[in-house]
Amino acid sequence: MKILTVEGVNKSFGGLKALNNVNFSVEQGAKHAIIGPNGAGKSTFLNCMIGRLAPDTGTVMFGDISLTGMKPYEINQVGVSRVFQTPEIFGDLTLLENVMIPSLAKRDGEYALHPFKRMEHDAEIRDKAMHMLEDVNLENKRDMTASSLSRGDKRRLELAMCLSQDPKLLLLDEPTAGMSRADTNKTIDLLKRIGDRGITKVVIEHDMHVVFSLADKVTVLAQGTIIAEGKPEDIKGDPRVQEAYLGGAHL
């Protein structure tokens, strides 16, 4: 079953055609990577999926729900979460609060005005948030403000925020960019564990090591068009990919 279907998406910025008639789909439970050289339109593509940008033409279907024209919070509410290239977290809030907010959004919907409920009495949300922080090994820092974290920790926190919502589809925009090799490996392990929970993942990545450790299917985007799609092994050998992406060099 397909969880995400993108059909005929075009997007231009002024004269620049960022996405050219993109057709793309993701199988339920898949671990799907999108790769491509800089400026291939990967981030634009992701932004069109989550409502940050509106595609000029074309449709984005999540199951049988059309995501086109939906607001970001509505897209999240149907089960799509996203980890950003630069960590998007609540910098002034504590780690625990950072993870409780998405849990609340998952449980109570897009808004729930409870001006007199006491946050500290909401054991369900609290326990879940603690559990999530343990998952990403940040439980000891739960009372620190998020902005004081290192970049790698911020990414893990953001991942915990997304995971706490048990999303059906998780979009990851270069989850290991700027990380050391050790941190990258930790993140890969973490992401593999999520995969076991049956969350469908779409990863945008530069790092081939990450792609081949994580993905079971790879789509190659170049100059706004999909030029190849298939199993990682096949993609590696595809001459078109080497031409466009690797400039002919071997992996």
Binding site: Y73, L93, P115, R118, D122
Partner: protein
């Protein structure tokens, strides 16, 4: 206690004590001493302390938690005042209907204005609120004169219907009261050279401030309050987290508008006169200052800030040249004369100069307000290392 944790209960009791013992705390100097002019324990001023405290507490729920800087909140206070006086004219000089009307009308008014203004954020939001407040001010002075009495200000008169009241044969306007207890009633208590004034109007306003303070604590500790802080921290992230920030923002805006309405209602309850100048944008600026002076986003800050500003306003604007001469009388003449000349810039009419300087100094050196100052002092004294630096605003999302 009351659903508050230990720390918040302590805070609440602290404010309670401040309020109950205000007549003593504010009158530390004996009547006959030179320093008696720095006493602030008279009803008029004490009432203003708590009323503006309410205003600032409410404003802080919006500005402190969400970071949305409204430059038009005085409009809600003004509207509350007008609604209050009208209730006292039409129904009864018992202040209960006046206060209810003040809160309700200000709430509706802020709902409408908030709905429109919250479609924009940042500086645009500030300008929109400012535009609405200035419009209200201009209209109150011109076209709406039949409702607002324009420049003279709306006040009670003998000819008012007051339909809920028995016919009035005394030939004087009845005094504002709370089920018969007059707002201005009270008594003095002389202890030696000290005179302490206890006033019913003050204590009634104080009760309202306590309630307002309590509600604000609960809001700060609620999921709602957490969401508001999330708006301030990273509104975009909220959207990608599945949260619609509009209802939260609007609720915060309306709550703070209702606080302003209550403050306006209490103002006319203790002195039944409502003027358009209460809506002028400098009045909106004043509540901003109160909040940042005390400490934006803290519970106690706005209360302290309101007290400080109103105290300085009162004391500084009353001082005149002879007061200054008396004050610096112990100095030799050649120092005293220039000192008095300089000091005169800052007192009397020049009190606004003090206000402006305070504004600048606080923003430059103590962005966290007085409370942060106290904390820094405390840290300095105990030589403790601070573990939790106040965090910088989150960096703009890059993509």
């Amino acid at each position: 206690m009351l659903g508050l944790n230990k720390k918040d209960t302590g805070l609440f009791l602290f404010v309670l004590a401040l309020i109950v013992f205000a007549p003593f705390i504010l009158n530390p100097f004996p009547e006959s001493s030179d320093l008696a002019r720095f006493n602030a324990g008279y009803p008029d001023l004490m009432q203003r302390f708590v009323i503006f405290g309410i205003f600032a507490i409410g404003f802080n729920i919006l500005f402190g938690l969400t970071g949305y800087l409204s430059f038009g909140h005085a409009a809600f206070l003004g509207v509350g005042s007008y609604a209050g006086v009208w209730m006292m004219k039409l129904l009864t000089v018992n202040i209960v209907p006046a206060l209810i009307a003040a809160i309700v009308v200000a709430g509706i008014f802020s709902l409408v204005i908030g709905y429109i203004c919250l479609r924009r954020s940042g500086i645009y939001f500030s300008i929109l609120t400012l535009a609405f407040a200035q419009m209200s001010f201009a209209l109150a002075y011109s076209v709406l004169t039949p409702i607002t009495a324009g420049e003279t200000g709306l006040q009670l008169s003998l000819a008012d219907p007051r339909i809920l009241e028995a016919a009035n044969a005394s030939g004087t306007i009845p005094a504002a009261n709370f089920f018969g207890l007059e707002m201005r009633s009270g008594f003095d208590w002389a202890v030696g050279d000290w005179v302490f004034t206890f006033n019913f109007g003050y204590y009634l306003c104080a009760v309202f401030m306590l309630i307002a303070f309590y509600i604000s604590i609960r809001i700060f500790r609620s999921p709602f309050g957490m969401m508001l802080r999330a708006v301030k921290s990273n509104q975009q992230r909220m959207g990608y987290t599945g949260l619609n920030s509009k209802p939260y923002m609007l609720a915060a805006f309306v709550i703070s508008g209702m606080y302003a309405g209550l403050a306006g209602g209490l103002m006319v309850a203790v002195d039944p006169l409502a003027g358009a100048d209460r809506m002028f944008w400098t009045a909106s600026g004043e509540v901003v200052l109160m909040t940042i002076l005390g400490g934006v986003g803290t519970l106690l800050g706005p209360v302290l800030g309101a007290g400080m500003i109103k105290y300085f306003e009162n004391i500084f604007s009353r001082l005149n040249e002879s007061d200054l001469n008396a004050l610096f009388g112990f100095l030799p003449d050649f120092i005293q004369a220039p000192l008095v000349t300089v000091a005169q810039m800052f007192v009397g009419d020049g009190w606004l100069m003090t206000l402006g300087l305070m504004f600048m100094l606080i923003v430059i050196f103590l962005p966290g307000g007085l409370l942060e100052g106290v904390q820094r002092l405390g840290a300095l004294v105990s030589r403790k290392k601070k573990t939790n630096e106040p965090s910088q605003p989150a960096a703009a999302p890059a993509e």
